[in-house]
Assembly symmetry: C2
Homo-oligomer: 717 residues x 2
Amino acid sequence: MSNEFDRGGFTLPGEAGYEDLTLEIAEKWGADVIRDSDGTKLSPRIVEAGYRIYSTICVIREHNAFAEAHPDAQQQTFLISDAVLAEGEQVTIDPLAGYFDEQFQLNDSAEAIAYWQVWDRTAGEPVPRERWRYADGKITVTGCTPYHRYTASTLCWRIWEEINMYNHTTNHWTSEHLRQLDPRHPLAWEYLQGWLEEWCVANSQTDVVRLTSLFYNFVWIFGSDMRRRSRFVDWASYDFTVSPAALKAFEAEYGYALTAEDFINGGRLQATHRPPTAHKRDYMDFIQRFVAEKARALVEIIHRHGKQAYVFYDDSWVGMEPYGRYFSAIGFDGLIKCVFSGFECRLCAGADVPVHELRFHPYLFPVGLGGLPTFSEGGQPERDAMAYWLHVRRALARQPVERIGLGGYLHLTQGYPAFVDAIEMMGRQFRRLRALHEQGAPAALPIRVAVLHTWGGLRAWTLSGHFHETDANPLIHINEALSGLPVEVGFINFEQAARGALKDVDVVINAGFAGDAWSGGDAWRSPELVAELTRFVREGGAFIGVGEPSACPGGDTCLRMAHVLGVDVDDGSWACHAPWTFEVARQTPFAVLPESLGQMKNARLAAPDVQVLAARDGAPQMTLRRYGRGSAAWLSGFEYSPASARMLLELLIHLTGAQREAAGVCDDPRVEAAWFPASGTLVAMNNGDTPVRTEAALPGRRIPVALEAGEMRFIEA
Amino acid sequence: MSNEFDRGGFTLPGEAGYEDLTLEIAEKWGADVIRDSDGTKLSPRIVEAGYRIYSTICVIREHNAFAEAHPDAQQQTFLISDAVLAEGEQVTIDPLAGYFDEQFQLNDSAEAIAYWQVWDRTAGEPVPRERWRYADGKITVTGCTPYHRYTASTLCWRIWEEINMYNHTTNHWTSEHLRQLDPRHPLAWEYLQGWLEEWCVANSQTDVVRLTSLFYNFVWIFGSDMRRRSRFVDWASYDFTVSPAALKAFEAEYGYALTAEDFINGGRLQATHRPPTAHKRDYMDFIQRFVAEKARALVEIIHRHGKQAYVFYDDSWVGMEPYGRYFSAIGFDGLIKCVFSGFECRLCAGADVPVHELRFHPYLFPVGLGGLPTFSEGGQPERDAMAYWLHVRRALARQPVERIGLGGYLHLTQGYPAFVDAIEMMGRQFRRLRALHEQGAPAALPIRVAVLHTWGGLRAWTLSGHFHETDANPLIHINEALSGLPVEVGFINFEQAARGALKDVDVVINAGFAGDAWSGGDAWRSPELVAELTRFVREGGAFIGVGEPSACPGGDTCLRMAHVLGVDVDDGSWACHAPWTFEVARQTPFAVLPESLGQMKNARLAAPDVQVLAARDGAPQMTLRRYGRGSAAWLSGFEYSPASARMLLELLIHLTGAQREAAGVCDDPRVEAAWFPASGTLVAMNNGDTPVRTEAALPGRRIPVALEAGEMRFIEA
């Protein structure tokens, strides 16, 4: 490879005490930036070695002295107690029993208690304020109905910053518990701005302030019992943003008051996987504006000191969604995203910000997130890195980023030369891909895909966490497949779909389970939405449903798009009704992988003119149907693999009639390719573990492609 | 065996042309009654041979001449058309497209059209009458919203009696299609009474009029396409009772009008497996009273002629449920029930009527209901008969009936001597059991079980058809198991449970899936019900939930009894919430059969103090929990087998602490027993296919029990 791909766009985690190693690896990996990491420091020799320097700060953490002096500046949340059964007229509730007492502490100030609620959960009604009283950490409810169950929803202080708590409880850290400040608290906000000013002055060597990340952690609620330690974890929920001050400001602005139940929601909270209430939508917008306003103020301080502000999109990301309405107004200079998967690359690459940087995995830590060894006995970090790279490179072939990098303790790479070599290779390939993109975009098939769900663009590409945290949802598999396909991908919500967004779309995908945010739940009660999607297909569009798409009770079918799909799901209400019987097609228009489709035993044909491509135990797994001038497909499920991604591509081509020559699609399904017409280069990737010889279709010609197992090759053509 | 068990209580189907065979078999099987069957006749030699004679009549059928002269006296139903998509302002609907035109004919009389409805199914709204018109068999709808779907609900004549239609289309009958009359039609009713008078006069030899059965067939809707021939079949629905006259009478009595949609229900109709609307409840009571009134008039005619009236509970049974409020007022002398299963024996045996008679299977037909050969090449009728007998005998050991019998073409038994011998054996054993019951009831454990569901006693024992028609519901398996267990069994509905019925109950069982009539659906929104069941368990009762018991949206748990069971089911709304982890108990208090429990992947522990007896793929399959002074158990599913019936018995004993000695429970789980203390006889049944030597526990002693494979033995003890 030529020298131009040896260096640049690479952020190396440096480590004091390992100066030689740091500089040696920086050279080998072609780093142009050296950063510190959570738990590491840079020494003067590193800082002065001629690299640009990133310095990591977590704005709201590491201010324990201030937090102890101003405990009311800490962050909060609502929590619901266990339900207590009334056997007589009175019950006593211990509001935080069962929660981790190192994380939560009751906020029993008068202004907080004003927001507390007691509910009769059997009747489904709040208990009037005059029927409960609080004393000594307990709530006593009177006038109970015997054998009803009562809960208390209270505001609590969060007295341990959750990422620090995770590292202590998982990685056996023993340092002081870090607290977190709420920037909504006036004194805290004043303090944080001053602190950042001072920090910038004290860190003159820093070129880029790497914010990890902003203010409010994703919701992570620990239990006291190890059998339910991680009681609730949602990487995109807003519960941890709340406080009496926030509630008062909300009420002043919106003209109505939120209650504890708006957050508690019968004990379920409001997870991102579920459609939000109207109140939650309002609240999210309210918080997003607040986060953007405060973040902008911090960025301005950083800029004033001649530094750049990059934000690491993880941990305290709530309210700063990169596709949210206020993100670009913050003025960040860069967005850094850790990536296991292709969809995370696309999430980063598509954000409206000058610099996009990926932090590769594995993190340079002894063990990985799943608890298995990485850089320790039994670990094979080069194998892990390659596995992630196979996901990442196909997305990078579709859409570029400016930078990549790593994090953690660099000294751990010692003794893992295969890993060091692998990262060197990935750096070169990344730079080569980046150069291709600079010369001109890769060709795509003329297929514009819109993924349709509750959140639309706000949660483009991601559901609410990493792949392995959301992999029970077919949509994350669909997104992962799409991240490397030669098609245009957008994310729209139901309101947009009903109001004109389909005019720029060829294929709509709705993938989820009944009642979840991805399928859409009650959104499908809208006749406008259903009629518009029906029109879209009648007039030539394609609709792909996965799992229980458009499922919503109360219609004449369980799936509101059953009349288009020709498939319905029996939620039990089709009792005694026979479905249409079918035979599985002997010949399918493309290779169908039943093992990637899972099974829904209650799926059934709702129309006779449906082609069944796969079935199991009498239930269809994959169907096709012409509908008007358009077409529809239904899949019982979808699990990502390179082969199933190819199946999805073939389905998209089949539904739209697109010509595959436009994008260099290879004959062998194990090989994915990106065709860069401006530079006359075909990037061919063998996703399999054996060598492949195949051909790629290009406009007007075919070229041979020969790849080793796993190889990515740049073919001048 | 002694002679007293050789004869009596047996109804033989005689057949003209086979007089010798009839009388020979009558002797061998110990018949005291000879009957005709659908399609057979008795000859004078048979009639005069000294046996009592049953003659079968189907009151509303075989009056084609009258029906042709009075087509408006035929029965009717509502049907919904296929939905038609509007692409412009107007759609045309063919109301009966897709239905079997030999079964249905549009009733386009003015009084019928007044009840027709057109719906915009996309909007979920009826279309005003002025926006649709009917002409030439088609409905034209104007002012449509483009891309909305429209349906028409019409009243239709049913021009082919459904059982006759079934026999034609399944058994290749070629005779004239029989029509059916609606007794609500004044002329028809007058005609039918006169016809019955004449019939009684003309059939002086008949001792018992065997009514097959009353007026309204269960709902069976055929499609025109063989891929969906049997579109809807529900053995207990009321759609076929409707007519403008019925609707007018209903409105006059109830003060509100039913509409087509009360029957059509968005195209789903109102299947017995689903909770009924309040309107349907009213309508059912209305029809039950009508059926009872008309049936009573017919019975009185029969009685006036010195004959008895037995009713065969099948086919046209709608409105005459034996546990309905009006059944005993009809005055039937006997109830005949065909039985495949134990629950059907108990259904018959427990009805308030002087004589209970079982019609055994297999029916003497060349092929069985499932289409497999019985009395034809490849058939093994003796094996089939034994399989049914194993189900039936254990129920007969718990509760007696007076009579048994067979139906069909007797000549088919020629060449099947093993079958003839098997029936002889069953006749003897039946008589011996009957005699034991006459001396005194079998001992039961002190366990009163209440099966709790929407229908309560109205649908005691049965769901809505035979076992094989409803076997996807765990409750039918529970009922089948209970039918032979030494416990007291009752059936209660939710209103009864909430209002005092639990005072006579030790164990409540609720078994079904979310939203079905057996689990209960919206009934669980009642705080009174939940509180009362909670009280019941707290104070010492036991609650067994199977599948998704008490499932109902809108609560703080998905199962409204989750706080008692310690188990909940995740309908998706528990997204991001971790359940309690668990370990499966190493020792269980009784033998647990995971293969009988099925699996619910979304089941989860809702409390830490739950004992998990079985689990699969991380989800519990069976749990136990102490709750207050009582206890609860949850099973993911239940499939009947002799072994699982024993598991259920052991569970009941475990939950209640009952002493098994009271009822002669045998040590070996393959052996069931009934202990008749008055006659000092233990009836021991080996349900397995190998010999067993075991012991039975009796009050104060144990006795040895040795049985051959499949044997039922009467042991004096």
